[in-house]
């Protein structure tokens, strides 16, 4: 307890005891000069009522203050589960599944990076599974002939743009054409790879 607190506490306690004492010993009451003060502000009842109102106001203020600042307690660690780390491909999922804000869309290059990543995987997979040369594979990707899936093809191809049906499907699913295309492309590439294990 700080010094100020102790001082105030003692003062308050003393005053309290004096007050209680006056209740039981009216003669003592005469010694305390409260009467004059009370007269000057319009009678004892006003005095009391004012305090009552003040007290209620303080009660409300205190409860609100409690709500605002809250309790300070420690937060122990959670040892029951295995320490969590992301899964491989989490960044891709976060970007593709959760969508992206306006600022990222306008100023960021995550879109391009994601496309490049999928394209690189598609390139290598095509070379390995279909035995194409690098140029043939690149050509197949640019023309969109590497897969039957239209959304996947248009995601990686600069020549093929997403058609109306792909856009509608994307809207139906509540995601952007980019997200839809990225997901489909990832699925198609892994399907290509799947045959060769």
């Amino acid at each position: 307890m700080s010094r100020a607190r102790t001082l105030l506490g003692t003062l308050g306690l003393v005053a309290f005891v004096v007050g209680v004492f006056t209740v039981f010993n009216p003669a003592f009451a005469a010694a305390v000069p409260v009467q004059g003060v009370a007269e000057s502000i319009g009678g004892p009842w006003v005095f009391v009522a004012a305090f009552g109102v003040l007290a209620v106001a303080v009660v409300v203020a205190v409860l609100l203050a409690r709500g605002v600042e809250g309790i300070d307690e420690s937060r122990p660690p959670d040892p029951e589960d295995v320490y969590r780390v992301p899964h491989p491909g989490q960044e891709f999922d976060d970007f593709v599944e959760d969508g992206v804000g306006v600022r990222e869309r306008l100023f960021g290059d995550r879109h391009q990076q994601t496309r490049e990543r999928v394209a690189a995987a598609a390139l290598t997979t095509l070379e390995r599974t279909r035995g194409l040369s690098r140029d043939e594979a690149r050509d197949a990707i640019a023309r969109g002939t590497w897969t039957e899936d239209a959304a996947a093809a248009s995601f990686l191809s600069s020549r093929r743009t997403p058609g109306l049906s792909e856009r509608l499907v994307a809207v139906f699913r509540g995601e952007s054409t980019f997200q839809h295309g990225a997901r489909r492309a990832a699925r198609e590439v892994s399907r290509l790879q799947g045959g060769d294990r």
């Binding site: 209620v56 295995v82 491989p88 995987a121 060769d196």
Partner: protein
């Protein structure tokens, strides 16, 4: 690290006294005014200076210090108050090793401890491959009113070792001059038959094939394959990108790599192969030059358990940190005839580059890659494809790669890999 705080949970209880006082005064009821005395008493209660001093002794007893993979281990924790004051409100959260999960009971407990008194509780964990070290238990002590709180830690060195033996370590043909287990293609005086050649003057008499001489009259010398010892460095990929797991509740690739390295260490220790340890990535590079003997193995085990880079927690490095200088340092440290076994989940291009650089600079490299991909999400499928492509790239470059599914023992994966390599 100890933190003391005031919980402020009794904040505003003086409002009780004020409310009663106000009502008592407004309605002129002395009895209600006396109710405010109760309020004042409760307002003073949390101000009592009774902050607890925490002095505890923690002991853990394991039902099995050496379990097999999948076994349940019961941990019994006993805490004793070694201080002079009573601890009216003691809360404990035990430091379960990060790669283990609690499968029965709870590692949390609360008790009131008088000086000298102790309390116990138990819980069960399921063991997985590797060495698991318990962390310090978190202790939160409050005073009788709950107004002051002391948060601290109490530790007890406890370890669960779950290490299986690997039947045979797949070492390649690069060897150093010590005699050991590797069978080379150089003919010499080892144990396995290699070929017969014409006798040359000076050849050892004990190696002359006398039976043939008796039969045909030709003097021939038998040559055996030379056995030479290998110098191996177990190199662990502990960059931030290697800390990935297939899903919740599963250990990450670095945990699997550490467990695998421990297993290989045990097997190599039984031969005269000299073994060393290195890390790729991490805040501080780990390096133990290859050596032989029990002391070397002990040193290596200690590093695997305690080195800050070989930790179950990922390092704080930025996502695009550059490790090429670390790789150059590693290459410099490796001697001329040292093989490398690289443990890496192969989740990015740098891992492949590292393996290829090491192989190109005359360090025969074998890659042991725990598969932590999971094809459940689009990103997961992409990562699986990329990893498969990387494995193919490594194999096409002549680097032996073990694609290890951690759900099966490493020994099994190595045996299958050996079969494939000897075809």
């Amino acid at each position: 690290m100890t933190t003391t705080r005031k919980t402020r949970r009794w904040r505003g209880v003086i409002a009780v006294a004020l409310f009663a006082g106000a009502a008592g005064l407004l309605f002129k009821r002395p009895s209600v005014l006396l109710l405010s005395v109760v309020g004042v008493a409760y307002a003073a209660y949390p101000q009592l200076p009774t902050e607890p001093t925490v002095s505890l002794d923690l002991e853990r007893r394991l039902s099995d210090e050496d379990p097999s993979d999948g076994d349940e281990v019961t941990v019994r924790v006993t805490v004793r108050n070694t201080g002079t004051g009573i601890l009216p409100d003691l809360r404990l959260v035990d430091g379960v090793p990060p790669m283990l999960s609690v499968t029965g009971g709870t590692p949390r407990h609360a008790a009131t401890l008088r000086p000298g008194e102790s309390t116990s509780f138990s819980y069960t964990v399921t063991a997985t491959q590797g060495t698991h070290r318990f962390e310090p238990a978190t202790v939160i002590a409050r005073d009788i009113a709950g107004a002051a709180e002391v948060e601290t830690e109490v530790a007890a060195e406890t370890t669960i070792e779950c290490v299986a033996e690997v039947p045979e370590v797949p070492l390649r043909d690069q060897t150093s001059q010590l005699v050991g287990r590797i069978v080379t293609d150089q003919g010499g005086s080892g144990v396995e038959f290699h070929r017969t050649r014409e006798y040359e003057r000076g050849d050892d008499m004990s190696r002359i094939d006398w039976r043939r001489f008796a039969r045909t009259g030709d003097l021939t010398t038998t040559e055996y394959r030379e056995e030479r010892a290998a110098s191996v460095v177990l190199c662990l990929d502990v960059r931030a990108s290697a800390y990935r797991s297939p899903g919740e509740g599963e250990p990450h690739a670095v945990a699997h790599s550490l467990a695998a390295a421990e297993q290989l260490l045990s097997s190599l220790a039984e031969t005269t192969d000299s073994v060393g340890l290195a890390s790729l990535g991490g805040s501080e590079a780990c390096w133990l030059p290859p050596g032989t003997g029990r002391d070397q193995v002990t040193r290596a085990r200690k590093l695997l358990a305690t080195h800050p880079s070989l930790s179950p927690y990922p390092p704080d490095e930025p996502a695009a940190a550059d490790h090429s200088s670390a790789l150059t340092d590693l290459r410099r440290r490796l001697g001329n005839e040292t093989q490398v076994v690289l443990f890496s989940p192969l989740l990015d291009a740098f891992a492949v580059e590292a393996a290829m650089q090491l192989e190109a600079t005359d360090h025969a490299t074998t890659v042991v890659s725990p598969d932590v991909t999971s094809p459940e999400t689009p990103g997961g499928r992409l990562a699986t494809t990329e990893r498969a492509n990387r494995i193919t790239t490594l194999r096409e470059s002549g680097i032996r790669t073990v694609d290890w599914d951690p759900s099966e023992p490493l020994g099994t994966a190595l045996i299958h890999a050996q079969e494939r390599w000897s075809r």
